[in-house]
Amino acid sequence: MKTIVKLAFAFILASFFGCAPTGSDKDKGTSKGALSGNAAEKVYVAPGEYDSHYAFISGGFSGQLSVYGLPSGRLFRVIPVFSQDPEKGYGYNEETKPMLNTSHGFIPWGDAHHPDISQTNGSLDGRWVFINENNTPRIARISLETFETEEIIEIPNSAGNHSSAYVTENTEYVVAGTRFAVPFPQKDMPISEMKGNFKGALSFLKVDKESGDMNISFQISMPGFDYDKCHPGRDKSHDWFFFTTYNTEEANSLLEVNASQNDKDFIAAINWKKIEEYVANGGGTKQPTNYAHNKWDNDKHTATSVMVKEVLVVDPKDVPGAFYFLPTAKSPHGCDVDPTGEYIIGSGKLAAAMTVHSFSKMIKAIEAKAFDGDAYGIPILKFEAVNYGVLEQPGLGPLHTEFDSRGNAYTTFFISSEVVKWNVKDLKVIDRHPVYYSVGHLMIPGGNSRTPDDKYLIAMNKITKDRYLPTGPEVCQSAQLFDISGDKLELLLDFPTIGEPHYAAGIAADKISSKSKKIYKLEENKHPYAVKSEAETKVVRNGNEVHVYMSMIRSHFSPDNIEGVKVGDKVFFHITNLEQDYDVPHGFAMIGANTSEMLIMPGRTATSIWEPKQVGIWPMYCTDFCSALHQEMQGYVRVSAKGSNTPLTYTLDGDIPGQ
């Protein structure tokens, strides 16, 4: 009996790990592997030398986007996007607060998921990186010259903005799909009446070729499934966009069971070119809505938030030939298209199978009308007619796939904690490597474009447990760097990340580094409260508002003595950094201000509000170690009692500045 149990157990194991490596292989990546493979040498970037690649790793629930170097795994910067950042003053100073405005009001936090770098002709061009906010649906555009968030647009009629923010091959569109089906437009109704009444909004945001400005061009009201992940077609499939769906059961409760009943869900294939044409010819219906569109002005150094009241909605029924469903194994998660544009891969999260569809078969099937019924009027293509093949049980819990330029795919397996390399055409596993642990996305620089860069792969892990020194119950999540230039995956490095490293975008450093901005030119500063020299600094009272036009330069503020402020006043410090030298920011902090510090780059103006509540002499100082006299960069504000008649004065070294 015992033998039978053992055998059965072995059989189960073998079936899950059909191509399981031998024990010795599993050891690579531990200390022995690192030494024998010269991994240390491969990731060593000598002091003063540069990394070869940038990795933009999303911070997940931190709401931000981090910038790392590869292969060193060094963190360079955290770009504030959807969350306030007191370190920089983002979302705290008056200029950046509008960036976080939504139709629900000001929101200090977001859940940043999928960064994607802009493309030209299907290759990364390094102009912008787009990223989605999952919770309160938004898409942000970040400049790769300033490494700052320049635009955030809210997505109406959407909820759980997850199948986002992927760009088409010439950055014609950034696409944002809804994870939750919701009433479209929103309305008060019983949840249980979801089926057939909720919709899934897929939004196409047009991107201006020059400025990068985004606008919602149209929203498709798809059947009320959950749209999980998506990717654009490439090259021959350029005109198409593919979305995985789950919960085609349209369950509204206990989804873990009720959304897992169908053996197959769908990949939705959408011909966006056809819809673009339809819309250009006046198609679609304008529906009232309400969403925030926030833009940063690089001349005024200020964001504005505008509420948009209308959106163009396209009903799939009205654009025949533009919408098809491809049956795909159970609740597919990742929806990935290989660099040639021929293979569309659905990672069957609950089926332990990779479904590979063929684009050319799909086109033939459409021509031959090889349909297997329809779902809400959208034709379902016959599985056999579109399917290239299925890679059965390469591991457990497949999530995401990226590609190299040699026809190989690399897929993450969440449950079996591994990355598997397989050949797409042969449907054969080539190599596998454990990761530590529970990997979500992986990223190859350019791995979701026509031209992947075959050197590195990073796997992003949700669980690290014993991988680092413990830091209490909450430990870091991590990324693991692999060398993929050979036949075998070679683990080189573990490095901790901020928040949840949800997904990342990577690019060769030279595509960005030379364009990186060094200073903001003072002469181009059009901020309404900017000063161009100390002579222009002043303090102006307007009722109980006191506007301080202040400057900062090594190593003093002007003015640095202010009197005549009273309890109950609202003091606006409009501060311009007069420096025009690289890497000379100044900071500003005022005692008792109910806000963060401000970090102000050379040539920039920013505003902090202080509402003094107590009489006294209150200091302010520079928070960024700017020079040998940084510690001397300080000043005083005298606060008198409400109604006192202390005259308003402002001085630098005893004189009115400039006199």
């Binding site: 200073i519 030119k521 020299s533 330069i553 090594r554 420096e579 025009q580 030298d581 690289y582 040998a628 006299l629």
Partner: protein, 207 residues
Amino acid sequence: MKKSKILMVLAGLFLGSLFFFPIWKITLIAPQYPEPLGLNIHINRLSDGVQFYDVNNIDLLNHYIGMAHLPSKENVIKGNVEPLLEFIIFPIVVSVMSVLALIVGFIGKPKLYLIWLIIMVILGIAGLYDFYRWLFIYGHNLDLNAILKITDPVTGLPMGYQPPFFGYKKILNFEVYSFPAIGAYLMASSMLLSFLAFFISKKEIKN
């Protein structure tokens, strides 16, 4: 037209080009400035030598040790510093000598070529001496209220910050290099051309 005449006219044009190119360049490298700061010295102005805003940034650093503002146009307009007389005289001298070179070229007498060259050599030497003198004053004219007052460890006197006239000098944390710039080479070429004109014109007369 004779070869010598062409050469002399070229000498005048080369000299005139000094309005477009700097004659000297001072470069400052420090650990914090791996990409150096640079100061271009023209016959009539100062300009940024390496990057945007270099002149002002050099001023900003110099204020720690009490050095005067550089005589840039911006500083003169702001009243930070007296205008530099040389920036008025040099352009006049260069214009006059360029025009003279053209006139001499058209007349075409060997003697005049030589006289022009001798005047240029005298003016050149005077100019270099003047430049040295200015560097000395600039490096030693220090504000008594300077933030950093450093004494020379050898002499015990306040440290001077005179940039090198030619070549390299270490000043505090900066490695300072001072070399002729393209304008100086153009001026030297101009003088060489006038000498060639003189030399050839004598041959031309013999033939």
